[in-house]
Amino acid sequence: MTMIATETAPVATTDTTAVDRRRAQISAMVRYTLLFGVGLLMLYPLIWLVGASFKTNNEIFGSIGFIPENPTLEGYRQGWETSTPYTFGRFFWNTFLIILPKTIFTAISCALVAYGFARFEFPGKKILFASLIATLLLPNVVTRIPQYILFRDLGWLDTYLPLWVPSAFAGDAFFVFMLVQFLRAIPRDMEEAARVDGANTFQTLIYIVVPLLMPALISVALFQFMWTMNDFLGPLIYISSVEKFPVSLALKLSIDTTEAFEWNRILAMSVLALLPALVVFFIAQKYFIEGISAGGVKG
């Protein structure tokens, strides 16, 4: 519509120009209303969650509206205290203890492995890369039991090691794959220039490849952060003492231990559990999007 309006504008009289402009405005209005409506619909559960976390326990199931009648912080206060000897602060700290090594070591190990696959020729490279991709296609459940037995024999049960050590050996094939694809799109000339400048393989990686790879590495770190934050099954399998529970398990804990579910506490803690991922995402959004659109590298 807008296109037609501008194209005909020079020959049309002032009257029809005004009509066309009007029509364009209406069409824009319709479009935005529609988009806004759909967007709201998708976001509603989240909005409801935030609203409900400020409600009293009785009110939560009383109405589907999201604005609490008597806003209260009771859910947050009691939820934070939990029914265990530990506050939720402890569980957040536990989550942090898993996320930190996992994210850092994922970025390092995946960058190293991807650099190897994308830039070097070595015997068996094809087979190794194929098996890497194959692990991508392997359903997670298949490896759960063998992994469990392995970690049990290592004496790692009820520690965080099973949760992050595999990642430190580039165990997340998806990230390696993502970085390899990203690297393939980057011309090699810069690295060759660095070699001519006297850099060895490792210096080239540190001074040239890693900075070029930074947007992708940030995406990797972000994905890993969010997935680890949300991971429920891993901690459920390997962590048994309450003092070591991460947030995802602790949320479930409040459901188990209370007989009459204190939904407002659970909802309040869910909101808190959402926050870190949300904050990190918005801070790193710019790089994140650069990282996913891997092709957008300037030559």
Binding site: E192, A193, V196, D197, G198, Y207, G299
Partner: protein, 371 residues
């Protein structure tokens, strides 16, 4: 000081494709050597083997008398300028220039002095604190040049450094690079250059000597004048010069006063050519005549004018002589003076500047063989 010697150099790529077929080339200290040839003739491959960016499958590369086959690029005493600049995108121009020196752990003062000097020579001082993406093509190429210069290498390697620039900038960068080379030489610095290009204008204007390559083999190595006047074979003859040399297949007859026949027509090449020709060279040959040396003559090759391109001071005339076409470059006056009423004219080569090539192999068989 930094002589470059290439001995029986071969390259076989991983897919078993043989890109370089045992070439030999000597570049003297301070010489500006241009590698030229059509796209895909393995110029880059050769250059990259000299640089150490590509493994050497056979033969030897020696820089300053030292075999460098197994040295990494950083230890060969070379610097390289790439076609697409290859600046480090996350570093300021200043850091781009000093990266190599910093890797060598040079002192801060030394690095700063070197950076300042290179920036002054290349007039990039105002750009030092910019990122590569904030530079124009010409500026980026000057920075790339600076990155090579700052290392004071023994041999400079260039891989089509100007082909991403527009025509005007290319012309000025050409002069800048040759000036720089002369200056380094005058100051007694190492200034051996191997410069790869597919552009014959660059080759002819910049090179002390030119190495013409084709399909991984060297066709001729000579200074620009020799290359133009005495091409060793039909390939070099056709590659160097613009418009391209006319290469016409025909038959050579006669004794000391040879005649070249094509279709029903014939041109006398004269006794001087007879003396130049390799003894017994008769029969099927290719005659090479530069368009500039084809002039109107009453008893020449008659041809229909197909097209005449007016270029101001000269006219490029395309003729159809039956079997094939000829291109002749005439001065505007010559063209105007012609009787073109029938649409046909007759032209003959300046036999002293013509060449006769063997039909198979294309070797020049008219290079004063009598001597």
């Amino acid at each position: 000081m930094a002589r470059l010697e290439i001995r029986n150099l071969e390259k076989v790529y991983g897919n078993a494709f043989k890109a370089v077929h045992g070439i030999n080339l000597d570049v003297a200290d301070g010489e500006f050597m241009v590698l030229v040839g059509p796209s895909g003739c393995a110029k880059s491959t050769t250059l990259r083997m000299i640089a150490g960016l590509e493994t050497i499958s056979g033969g030897e590369v020696r820089i300053g008398g030292r075999v460098v086959n197994n040295l990494p690029p950083g230890k060969r005493g070379i610097a390289m300028v790439f076609q697409n600049y290859a600046l480090y995108p996350h570093m300021k121009v200043r850091s781009n220039l000093s990266f190599g020196l910093r890797l060598q752990h040079k002192s801060k003062a030394e690095i700063e002095a070197a950076t300042a000097e290179v920036a002054r020579i290349l007039e990039i001082e105002p750009l030092l604190d910019r990122l590569p993406k904030e530079l124009s093509g010409g500026q980026a190429q000057r920075v790339a040049l600076g990155r090579a210069l700052i290392k004071k290498p023994e041999v400079f390697l260039f891989d089509e450094p100007l082909s991403n620039l527009d025509a005007k900038l290319r012309a000025s960068m050409r002069v800048r690079i040759t000036d720089l080379h002369k200056r380094l030489k005058a100051e007694g610095m190492s200034s051996t250059v191997v410069y790869v290009t597919h552009d014959q204008t660059e080759a002819m204007t910049m090179g002390d000597r030119i190495c013409v390559m084709k399909e991984g083999r060297i066709m001729q190595v000579a200074d620009p004048k020799t290359l133009y006047n005495e091409p060793a074979n039909a390939f070099v003859a056709g590659f160097i010069g613009s418009p391209e040399m006319n290469l016409v297949d025909g038959a050579l007859e006669g004794g000391s006063d040879p005649v070249f026949r094509i279709g029903g027509q014939a041109v006398r090449l004269g006794p001087q050519m007879g003396a130049r020709l390799r003894p017994g060279a008769r029969g099927d040959v290719t005659l090479g005549m530069r368009p500039q040396h084809l002039k109107p003559a009453a008893d020449g090759l008659k041809g229909q004018i197909v097209n005449a391109e007016f270029m101001g001071h000269e006219v490029v005339v395309h003729l159809d002589i039956g079997r094939t076409r000829l291109v002749s470059v005439l001065s505007a006056a010559e063209y105007e003076g012609l009787d073109r009423s029938s649409g046909a004219i007759s032209v003959a080569p300046d036999a002293s500047a013509a060449h006769v090539f063997a039909r198979d192999g294309g070797e020049n068989i008219s290079l004063a063989h009598a001597s």
